[in-house]
């Protein structure tokens, strides 16, 4: 199970990173979101994978690690704020520059800047 979990995290991260290397803004934002999923999964697993427990004190002795959960919870919300900011920035860039390239360059001057 641990192996499967690790592979899944790695695949999600790789897919996200691949998208972040693209040249247009929207795939980059999608990649960023995917990468933050992978990061959250990674962080979450730092307390070990506990099935059938919970972090509610109810007299049971089988608890999951609450600390990574608290960290990831805020990370999810902050990740949302970051995605939102990035995508709005992308929209703004398109509105101001007239294209959606990550470098804000126009299609015609792409060649000369290479």
């Amino acid at each position: 199970m641990e192996m499967l979990y690790a592979i899944t995290t790695g695949v999600l991260a790789a897919s996200g990173l691949y998208l972040m290397l693209r040249g247009r803004t929207f795939p980059v934002v999608v990649g960023l979101t995917l990468l933050s999923y992978a990061t959250n999964l990674f962080l979450f697993s730092m307390g070990g994978l506990t099935a059938g427990g919970s972090a509610i004190i109810d007299g049971k002795s089988h608890y999951s690690d609450p600390l990574p959960q608290a960290l990831v919870l805020t990370a999810i919300v902050i990740g949302f704020a970051m995605t939102a900011f990035a995508v709005i920035l992308a929209m703004r860039a398109r509105g101001d520059m007239g294209n959606d390239h990550v470098d804000g360059r126009k299609a015609e001057d792409k060649e000369e800047r290479r």
């Binding site: 690790a6 695949v11 979101t33 979450f44 972090a55 999951s64 600390l67 704020a81 970051m82 995605t83």
Partner: protein, 951 residues
């Protein structure tokens, strides 16, 4: 402890001009002069004690761990320099009062000048190697400000920069040298260093240390080959030149050599380096002084030349040579300050410093002429003036020197050549300005300056004569303690004008006669020199600076070609290497914990995650499909959290997922629906390999951690959650109580992101397509009936659920974050179903204040605990009995959670509702009056914003 006031008073004096600058110029000048004058009087009050052989010292402990004490001493050498620094400084203050234009910022000028004065006093009195170095650097900084005072002039900026670079680089070498010296001796205390000369000379690190210290001294004192900054520093106002280049800045290097003389001199290496550099500088600079045409240029090079002379004497290092060096320091400061002031007067009154445009000024400026003739003659070393005596002593010492071994005649010969050139340029300076026929008329009709402007130079000229006539009376009281401080023992000497007919006198006579001849021939010499291309060290310097700048720029451009893809590739490549190296020994990192068994559901879920994750990347050209894939990933992540015992996370992830998808869908509406194919196959392959590598690193890292035994600090939270935080949901208690400060930071970030997005959307105009990428018109039914009905039914339910989730959050899965997101989702559903316009009418309030209020409530809850004398964000809780509802547990953390709730609702809606407004005619920008009434669903192109502020 009064001793400490001597360096402290000038330092405090930096504030005086700033405080009195607005009260008029005269008051400012007088007030500025006060503190240095007191410091001077204090210095002199120690004279009897010093003459008696004492060395007053005082200090405060500063950083004892590294042996750094704020310690000062006042021995004979410090006294001599303090006298020059403060005495000539006072004269310069008076002179600058007349020199600077009324329109100039004299207060700033005085402040810089006093800062410089204070740092020089600090060097002279430092009793600790590091303190010495700090004041040394302070002189570099303050001289930078002074030289660049006329910052509107390019040459002033360049000159200041050059002086700063050269002396600053020298300062770094000096720091290394001084630290090495302190290491050799084992103490940074000056007295200990001075007393351990023998240890230092015997140490194997001595040569390195000596070269480093001398680099600093030579750079500061403009010795060859670092001399080139000094003539360029002439771009400074003349009072600055007169001060920096006669008595202070350039003498700092000389001072250092004299100060450390007992400790580091006395080896053959010392006398070889110092003597050779000094004599080369002396002759080389004297030659340039002869061929310059600018008054201050001549003086600048003559200064360099005379500094070379003093360096030679220090290099020879015999007791009489040290005496001669100190005497010449005094004499040079006297006549050179006066000469600079005179050249400033001429510049001020005639409007030029160009020798070609000056001449026959003797009639118009008779007194200036007399003053300059006297001081010029002193510089040339004519008899009955102070310069003569020290020059005779110099000649005597060069004859006695053994520095060149078999070639012992070289030094006196070169010294005589230097003397010849010195006579020639001194004569030229006076003759060309006052007696020769000018080639062109000066820009202004010259006349005598105000009397008080002349007074400082008159005083100095008088001193030149008095010291020249009565050297024993005038100078012995000052020189005897200074020599004793350098030699560490008193020296019995007698200064006299006449030593009989001897070889030094013959050298003087030769120098005078040959100098006169050289002056008569100097036009021819200058003609001859003009045939050679100027090979200025400053050009080389500028060239090197330029080259370094260009190279740096090229390297930066390679990294920073303004391409995000380039940055990302470099960043990811670097992290791949770092990660792969770390994971190379994965076997050793992996722990002993075995794999838990996999069940079918888990396997299906993981495969689905992998499939949709890769699918998101593969389908990225079809953005909508890619987005749908992403939403599946998000959903599965949420299920993963639920599977592994994190209900809070599952709830949060689910609600965030909803909000994120709405946001991205909305954004995609305004962006191209498809991504063009741009990457070459090679590039795509490279990216693919890079990402696969990184994915492997992350997976490997994750696996190694998961197989290790976890020793978590979480037991503390589990144990203390109920007794300490009053809640059973440990995750929530951590968020609002244990780590409440982190959460406060996080909701602040959220609110700031919301505000930034609000600002970014401001006045944004985007093309709104009326159909999708396939050309299909969007559904004509903008507000479907079913959705409208459901949304209105769901909203109260959603609000109720969020209240429930919020209230139970402390004990059951839930809390402010999740409740906030549920509320936001409910409201967003209404926005979507009914449109922004309809919702806006009914929910007419801005969300920014809600978000800010949330952060405020959370912060105030934290501050509230101060009222009870507890630290920030201490929570308290208790059980309350409320009629009808029953027992309830309330914690102040709940109030904090309310802040979180408000911040999340506010920020989320601020982002989405504002983005939604972009789709309506009621855009968040100003209304579309300028565009006329444009109906929805039509093409709308970006219109330039007209610059009006929106509310």
């Amino acid at each position: 402890m009064t001793l400490l006031w001597i360096p402290l008073l000038p330092l405090l004096g930096v504030l005086v001009p700033a405080l009195t600058g607005s009260r008029g110029r005269l008051l400012c000048t007088l007030a500025t002069a006060c503190l240095p004058a007191v410091a001077l009087a204090l210095t002199l009050s120690y004279l009897p004690a010093i003459e008696a052989g004492n060395i007053p010292r005082a200090g405060l402990e500063w950083v004892p761990q590294i042996g750094l004490d704020l310690a000062f001493r006042l021995d004979g050498l410090s006294l001599l320099f303090n006298l020059l620094i403060l005495g000539i400084g006072l004269l310069i203050i008076l002179y600058a009062h007349y020199y600077l234009d009324a329109s100039e910022n004299y207060a700033k000028f005085y402040a810089y000048l006093i800062l410089f004065m204070a740092s020089m006093v600090g060097i002279a009195m430092a009793d600790n190697l590091l303190v010495l170095w700090m004041f040394w650097e302070l002189t570099s900084l303050s001289s930078f400000l002074l030289i660049g005072f006329w910052s509107h002039r390019s040459e002033a900026r360049k000159g200041a920069r050059m002086a700063m670079t050269v002396t600053g680089a020298g300062g770094l070498a000096l720091l290394a040298g001084l630290l090495l010296l302190g290491d050799i001796v084992g103490s940074l205390d000056m007295q200990v260093v001075l007393d351990s000369g023998a240890t230092i000379l015997a140490d194997s690190r001595y040569p390195i240390m000596l070269v480093l210290v001398l680099l600093g001294a030579f750079a500061k004192s403009a010795q060859f080959p670092f001399h080139f900054w000094l003539p360029h520093a002439m771009a400074a106002p003349t009072p600055v030149s007169a001060y920096l280049h006669s008595a202070t800045m350039v003498k700092a290097g000389i001072f250092l050599m004299a100060r450390l003389h007992p400790a580091i001199a006395g080896s053959e290496l010392w006398s070889a380096i110092v003597t050779v550099v000094g004599i080369v500088t002396m002759v080389y600079a004297a030659w340039f002084a002869l061929i310059k045409a600018d008054l201050k240029g001549i003086l600048a090079f003559s200064t360099v030349s005379h500094l070379g002379l003093i360096t030679v004497l220090l290099g020879i290092g015999s007791p009489m040579a040290v005496l001669a060096a100190l005497f010449h320091i005094l004499n040079h400061a006297t006549f050179k300050a006066a000469l600079f002031m005179c050249s400033g007067i001429i510049d001020h009154e005639a409007g030029t410093r160009d020798l070609a445009r000056l001449g026959r000024l003797a009639k118009a400026m008779p007194i200036t002429c007399i003053v300059m003739s006297i001081t010029g003659a002193a510089m040339a070393g004519f008899p009955l003036l102070n310069g003569f005596i020290s020059k005779e002593m110099f000649f005597t010492e060069t004859l006695d020197s053994q520095a060149f071994g078999g070639l012992s005649l070289v030094l006196p010969v070169l010294a005589t050549i230097g003397g010849v050139l010195s006579v020639a340029y001194s004569i030229r300076l006076v003759h060309a300005v006052f007696f020769a026929e000018p080639r062109h008329a000066p820009p202004k009709a010259p006349h005598e300056p105000p009397h008080l402007m002349r007074a400082p130079s008159e005083l100095l000229a008088t001193l030149c004569i008095l010291v020249g006539l009565f050297p024993a009376v005038m100078a012995t009281w000052l020189l005897a303690p200074a020599v004793a401080a350098v030699l560490l023992e008193p020296l019995d000497f007698h200064l006299a004008i006449w030593h009989g007919f001897n070889l030094p006198l013959a050298m003087s006579v030769v120098a005078t006669l040959a100098g006169l001849t050289t002056y008569l021939l100097h036009r021819k010499i200058r003609q001859f020199v003009r045939d050679f291309p100027p090979r200025d060290a400053s050009r080389i310097f500028e060239g090197v600076v330029q080259t370094i700048g260009d190279r740096a720029e090229r390297i930066t451009e390679w990294f920073d070609n303004a391409s995000l893809q380039r940055f990302m590739t470099l960043l990811l490549g670097a992290s791949l290497i770092a990660g792969a190296v770390g994971l190379a020994r994965m076997d050793a990192l992996t722990g002993a914990k075995g794999n838990q068994p996999v069940d079918g559901v888990l396997l299906v879920g993981a495969l689905l995650l992998i499939f949709t994750g890769i699918g998101t990347a593969i389908t990225h050209r079809h953005r909508l499909i890619s987005l749908l894939m992403l939403s599946v990933v998000g959903l599965l992540v949420s299920l993963t959290f639920a599977r592994f015992s994190a209900p809070d996370l599952a709830l949060t992830q689910l609600s965030v997922e909803v909000v994120t998808m709405i946001l991205l869908m909305l954004a995609l509406f305004f962006l191209p629906q498809k991504t063009p194919r741009e990457s070459t196959p090679a590039r795509a392959l490279r990216d693919l390999l890079l990402c696969m590598g990184l994915g492997g690193v992350i997976a490997g890292l994750n696996y190694t951690v998961l197989t290790r035994d976890t020793e978590s600090i979480s037991q503390f939270f589990l144990d203390n959650s109920v007794p300490g935080g009053g809640g059973h949901n440990v995750v929530n208690v951590i968020l609002v109580d244990f780590r409440g400060f982190d959460t406060l930071g996080e909701i602040t970030v959220l609110a700031i992101a919301g505000l930034a997005i609000f600002k970014l959307l401001n006045r944004l105009r985007l093309f709104m397509p009326h159909s999708d990428s396939e050309g299909r018109i969007w559904a004509p039914d903008r507000y479907p009936m079913i959705l409208t009905t459901i949304s209105q039914t769901v909203l109260p339910l959603a609000l109720l659920v969020s209240v429930f989730i919020f209230l139970r959050g402390h004990n059951q899965p839930g809390g402010g974050f999740i409740a906030g997101l549920i509320t936001a989702v409910g409201l967003l559903l209404v926005y979507m179903a009914r449109g922004v316009a309809w919702t806006q009418q009914r929910l007419d309030f801005p969300y920014q204040p809600v978000a800010i209020l949330g952060v405020g409530v959370a912060a105030l809850t934290g501050f509230g605990s101060w009222l009870f004398g507890a630290p920030f964000l201490t929570s308290s809780f208790g059980h309350f009995h409320i009629p009808l509802i029953g027992d309830i547990e309330l914690a102040t953390a709940m109030l904090f959670d309310l802040g979180v709730y408000l911040a999340v609702v506010g920020a989320t809606l601020m982002i989405l509702a504002n983005l939604g407004k972009v789709t309506t005619p009621h855009r968040p920008a100003k209304e579309d009056h300028d565009q006329g009434s444009v109906e929805q669903g039509l093409h709308r192109t970006a219109a330039p914003s007209d610059g009006k502020e929106t509310v």
